[in-house]
Symmetry: C2
Subunit: 263 residues, 2 copies
Amino acid sequence: MENSSISHRLGRPQVGADGLPQAASAREALQGISWLRRVSSKTLDALASQAVLHRVPAGSLLFNQAEIPAFAQFLLAGSVELWGVRGEAETLVELLQPVDLIVPAAVIGNQPYLMRARIYEEAHLLLVGAEAFRDALACDHALCRAVLGCLAAQFRRQVRMQKNLKLRSVEERVGCYLVSLLGQADRDIAVRLPIEKHLIASQLGMSRETFSRALSAMGKFGILVRGDVIEVADASVARARFTLDPLIDGAEPIDLIQGKAIR
Amino acid sequence: MENSSISHRLGRPQVGADGLPQAASAREALQGISWLRRVSSKTLDALASQAVLHRVPAGSLLFNQAEIPAFAQFLLAGSVELWGVRGEAETLVELLQPVDLIVPAAVIGNQPYLMRARIYEEAHLLLVGAEAFRDALACDHALCRAVLGCLAAQFRRQVRMQKNLKLRSVEERVGCYLVSLLGQADRDIAVRLPIEKHLIASQLGMSRETFSRALSAMGKFGILVRGDVIEVADASVARARFTLDPLIDGAEPIDLIQGKAIR
DNA sequence: CGTCTTCATTGATCCATATCAATGAGCACT
DNA sequence: AGTGCTCATTGATATGGATCAATGAAGACG
């Protein structure tokens, strides 16, 4: 894609290259997951002994809808598309970012997956046999709490998305999406779209064509999209038109279980 | 509303009347929650000592969006509307049925509610101070597992709804909704809509008018809606047109944590 | 360099769905 | 009976967004 001389705030995560601390072993990988920090070494050992560390290339199918989970999968690096499928049609339900669990809700209850999972950016996964993972949940309280926090964040992201879909028009969804990408800065911002446009369109619940048209229409609010770079001379107009709602657009902290220290 | 002579499969849950075993005390109420059955008496005692049993009339506001949870609320009987609100507009995200926890995701992480909760049918609630509940989660492993199962079911319902919204047209959503109400029977079925039409419309993500029109259009498939009763002479046509997808329309078992016996 | 492929844009068109407005039905209250 | 209320229906109309089809731009590859 073309690239102008803009150098402010750019930086799409490069597919394949990851700057994360490389985990040499499953044990080290588990150790490095911040929201597992309160889990005992013993349990981490037990999990690690059952675990496989996997590097999975972009495009790989992790699992399909209706499959019964074979593994609990920790996403350590890279990213994972979660697709809802119905016949020919499919929709991007979420794009999972590390570090997270890949649909623990299905694994916990040994229920069929409701979504198809595909690797977006080459991923580092840690796989634990589903049964072993459930056993660990049954044995280790701290692990259970950690997963509870993780799942709570996932639930809240779903609620946010349902509100976004049902309470906003296409233009608003696109506008808010872009504004949320901008961050704090107010003048002469340039940000790269983090993923391909057709993925954004699907996630926002519209066709690519509609998304494309909505992007051009953003010019009215001072947002110019050239290729995968969005340029904003003055963000105030856009911010005024597309007021972010912290109860829709906000981020969800994964690590909900804090120690007593937080109070 | 008018009522024909149809007597098959009728029975909207009567607002206010509940046939459930009346819990005289918080302790008994907790005891009666099947998915807490593995939680120790000690913890149930501890919770009960902090808990208040409440009977709340229809229409009451339980909490608003953006509020920080003051209580963990168990829905023992009745039902609760969860509304996503944005300015003037609001949408019914879910209608909670007993026995369930009311948005534990917010309570667990001490995060602002993303939804407004209102009593639909007069409800029996068990309230536990949020902090006390989090402490109990921190102390009791079995409770933690039970909540994990509860939350997993809630997450999966959200995913189902997002798929329903993004992958189906209005006609399909309405058709599948009605077909899922029919149950097994094939001939001469009459079922009452469980809730008012404007609530169904909001939950399915459409305007009341559109819902109303979609209902009349169901005649084409052998589904007649008269007042709040849907009558079906032969369900085969409707079932053929509106094939239920178990990964969208299925029910979610709340109690995911089974004992070893299940295997 | 040309070709193929993938992804995005753009235009023309159609249809689904929202919106606005009026009417109607059932129900509570006086 | 009459009034007002809520909820649902129905019609007319507008428009948002999907769909179909064609074009374009940017890599990948031989």
